[in-house]
């Protein structure tokens, strides 16, 4: 059952010789959906020997969510799952069974670190609470990352990113005053904020352990992690520096600051220029590059305070100007003048973006069922120990046999029995 499908794309030749940060580190991954698996994907990308426990009885919702190739079906073809689970091994164990739990505890003993993002209730149900885990392995680092933390009156509350998004405040902060608080179109904090915060915490705990030998429990509330990344308006309001009001694409420290629709392209209507002039010089250079040097001399726009006071007027002028511009041309001319400008790219454009391609951010990995697919690269480039994904996401249970024999020490007969009993399932 071990699948030696090889590596493809960017990582192949470096696999043997390139040192990796977490080589030799064993990591037990009991996460699912977004915030957990992206954290453990990053750990796996650093070279940890990472085993993700799943079960066909209740597979990760992302395995069935798609997008998937037309005509493809099953648990192994979802881009949503596959992008978040590169470099992992998948073993299917039903931890709710008695024998399954015993095997789970053997993995706990094998592991240097573990992580789960189940609710506290589910964690108790599978017997993976800190008391049990630390008894079996006193030196382990275990991260618990439920929605609202392991303690407190709301700790058992359930919900996916869409629920968390409303509670953590992003819906209330984003968008224009007067519109319904519909959020930012994604379960935003699931994808970078919560998982990559988690990586920093895990590695800090590992640093401490390697210095002192001490493991520990990390109680990471996705709510707290999300709010921490949205803390500006809270800090302002809590300390009497102004009550929050939604301001769309504006900010208090800069103007002009927003998006302005440019001329429709033949195949690309709905194109927008993003502009954020933070420094006075950027504003003056913008006016000049836009062919409206007189704006910078206009008393209504002379200082930031003036531009904020006359922001509606200023935005109307910029919007009317932008509507006549070709997006690519205006971006090039503004950037040539040192103006912080960009285009609101869609995903196809991001994949093909000159800068992203030049820096090889996306990695293309061949997956046995899903084909050659783009994967997000690492959010940080490390010069000596690259953390980019090298192996495609595992198929459900792809490594069950390997893990059962090599880590759990089971014989083929025992494995057969456990599969029949739906423990390894």
């Amino acid at each position: 059952m071990t699948n030696d499908n090889g590596m493809n794309g960017n990582g192949a030749s470096g696999a043997v010789s390139t040192p990796r940060i977490l080589e030799g580190l064993n990591f037990l991954d009991l996460t699912w959906f977004g915030a957990g698996p992206i954290a453990t994907r990053t750990i796996a990308g650093m070279g940890a020997n990472l085993v993700r426990v799943e079960t066909e009885k209740r597979p990760d919702g992302l395995r069935v969510a798609g997008p998937r190739p037309v005509d493809a079906a099953g648990y192994n073809v979802s881009g949503y799952y596959n992008n978040f689970n590169t470099d992992k091994k998948s073993v299917t164990i039903d931890l709710t069974t008695e024998r399954g739990h015993e095997l789970g505890m053997e993995l706990v003993q094998w592991a240097d670190m573990m992580m789960t993002n189940f609710t506290p209730r589910a964690i108790r149900q599978i017997g993976m609470d800190w008391e049990t885990v630390s008894k079996a392995n006193p030196e382990i680092i275990a991260m618990y990352q439920p929605m609202q933390g392991m303690t407190g009156p709301h700790s058992e509350y359930g919900g996916f990113g869409a629920v968390l998004g409303t509670v953590c405040g992003i819906n209330g902060l984003a968008g224009f005053e007067g519109n319904a608080p519909g959020g930012v179109g994604t379960n935003y904090t699931d994808y970078v904020v919560n998982p990559i915060h988690a990586v920093t915490a895990l590695l800090a705990a590992l640093y401490h352990k390697r210095k002192t030998g001490e493991g520990q429990m990390i109680d990471m509330s996705q709510l707290e992690s999300s709010v921490a990344a949205l803390a500006g308006p809270l800090f302002v309001q809590a300390n009497g520096a102004g009550d929050f009001a939604r301001e769309g694409n504006r900010v208090k420290y800069a103007a002009p600051h927003g998006v302005y629709q440019v001329r429709d392209g033949a195949e690309r209507p709905d194109r927008w220029l993003a502009l954020g002039c933070i420094e006075e010089g950027q504003w003056q250079r913008f006016a000049a590059a836009a062919g409206h040097a007189e704006w910078a001399d206009d008393a209504r726009f002379a200082t930031l305070a003036d531009r904020k006071a006359n922001e509606d007027t200023l935005e109307a002028l910029v919007a009317a100007w932008a509507r006549e511009q070709d997006g690519d041309a205006v971006l090039a001319s503004l950037q040539a003048a040192g103006v912080p400008a960009g285009l609101v790219l869609n995903a196809t454009e991001v994949l093909a973006d000159e800068q992203m391609v030049d820096r090889q951010y996306f990695r293309y990995l061949e997956h046995p069922e899903a084909g050659l697919r783009a994967q997000d690269g690492s959010g940080f480039k490390l010069s000596k120990t690259p953390a980019e994904p090298m192996l495609p996401a595992p198929m459900l249970g792809e490594h069950t046999y390997e893990v059962a024999t090599e880590i759990l020490g089971l014989t083929p007969e025992e494995i057969g029995d456990l599969v029949a009993e739906r423990v390894l399932f």
Binding site: G159, T200, L203, A205, Y361
Partner: protein
């Protein structure tokens, strides 16, 4: 109690894009020294400002993201400033900066320059586009990163403009990735003694936040657009609902939790279930409003047609119910019944959150230099063996010049001379 990064020294010369990275390492126990130009970091001037405190000590964003750091000033463009900076580099484990490639070359403070004085330095660069590539030296600001990462395309109403992500998510994403990368490099240094370069581009740092959009474009060749619900369905108990005082978000259509029956139970409690506990609704809700039915609908929307009337009625009853009650009630009482409900929090709601209060998440800290006591939001994580500690407010401009530079043999007389030359602030 010990802190995880005790003994680790970080030099943070970054501008606003990198402030949060150094803050996280400081919270974990590192000694972070912030280096600013003599006129101060630009974010010191950014509104909102703290009333009653003068410039340049009142910028709230600066105060928040630079707490727990010490602060010095240095003009890196002057030879003596550069020299002192390299002394600081030598004494640091991690250096964070946000110099773009051309700037670094002009100042002769590239990664190579740093490695020349400290071969095992962990050099962490946080910029808009990274140090290489055709945009390497392009100008950037937060909203530009939101735009060019694809993330902003997904936010907003169908008939409105794309919307930025609130509170500098481009900068925060870059800093979050950088902190994680620097920690990885620190672990490698711990086991090998070797440094390396960590390089973050805001455009790349945010890409994962496109959710499924990148994969959809890659696999299906189509683009997700803003303002379109993922499934294009309006099922009862699913999505944003108006309350008496705001909004609540419900996922009560059977994906998890107690689903729609749980919601009806909640409605019945206040006599708001109307006829949903009677036939034909009672049977329909028990038998059909579950995940399997939902998945059937997703596979074949035409199946909905036969029950559209019932769905519409249920939707109306639910919306009338939520409109009558406050969001906190719907959230707390719903969750008690395992209805997946979330209230749309305002900053005021979060400041009063019973959950955050129970976990002592907010901390008051006296700021002697500014003559105020401010309330700070808490840490991103609780490392129970090595808890984060809020130890000091953001530095006043040049506050620790004497303290830090004295380590390098600069006494008060020498410091005054440097101030006279404009190398540091007086």
């Amino acid at each position: 109690m010990a802190m995880a990064l005790e003994g680790v020294r970080v030099l943070d010369a970054s501008g606003p894009i990198g402030h949060y990275a150094g803050r996280m390492l400081a919270d974990l126990g590192a000694d972070v020294v912030k280096v600013e130009p003599p006129e101060g970091d630009p974010a010191r001037q950014w509104a909102p400002l703290l009333p009653g405190v003068d410039a340049p000590e009142s910028g709230m964003q600066f105060l928040l993201l630079n707490a727990n750091k010490r602060g010095v000033t240095l003009d890196l463009s002057q030879p003596r400033g550069r020299e002192l900076y390299l002394e600081l580099v030598k004494a640091s484990d991690i250096v964070i900066d946000s110099l773009q490639a051309d700037e670094a070359a002009e100042l002769r403070l590239t990664a190579e320059d740093l490695e020349a004085v400290k071969p095992d330095v962990i050099h962490t660069s946080i910029t808009g586009w990274g140090l290489s590539g055709p945009y390497g030296n392009w100008a950037y600001s937060d909203i530009v990163g939101c735009a060019m990462s694809g993330t902003m395309q997904l936010a907003g109403m169908q008939d409105g403009p794309p919307e930025q992500l609130p509170d500098m998510q481009g900068y925060h994403s870059a800093s979050i990735q950088a902190a994680a990368g620097a920690m990885g490099a620190l672990i490698y240094h711990q086991s090998t003694g070797e440094g390396q370069r960590v390089e973050v581009s805001m455009q790349e740092a945010m890409s994962m936040s496109q959710e499924t959009a990148m994969m959809q474009a890659d696999i299906l060749g189509t683009n997700r657009e803003r303002g379109v619900p993922m499934r294009g369905l309006d099922l009862p108990g699913l999505g944003l609902h108006e309350t008496s005082d705001g909004f609540v978000f419900l996922v009560a259509s059977g994906l998890a939790g107690s689903g729609f029956p749980g919601l009806v139970g909640l409605m019945a409690e206040t006599g708001d279930a109307a006829d949903l506990q009677e036939e034909p609704y009672a049977t329909f809700i028990t038998e059909k409003m579950n995940a399997n039915f939902l998945l059937e609908i997703l596979a074949d929307p035409e199946q909905v047609a036969g029950v559209q009337g019932m769905l519409d009625h249920m939707n109306e009853v639910v919306r009338a119910f939520t409109k009558k009650h406050p969001k906190l009630y719907l959230y707390v009482e719903g969750q008690k019944r395992r209805v997946l409900a979330g209230m749309v929090s305002t900053p005021g709601d979060i400041l009063e959150s019973p959950q955050l209060a129970a976990r002592n998440w907010f901390t008051d800290l006296e700021d002697v230099g500014r003559g105020v006591t401010l309330q700070y939001p808490g840490p991103q994580w609780q490392l129970t063996g090595t808890p984060a500690q809020l130890r000091r407010p953001a530095p006043l401009l040049g506050e620790h010049n004497a303290e830090v530079f004295s380590e390098f043999g600069i006494d008060n007389t020498a410091l005054a001379a440097l101030a006279a030359e404009g190398v540091v602030t007086a």
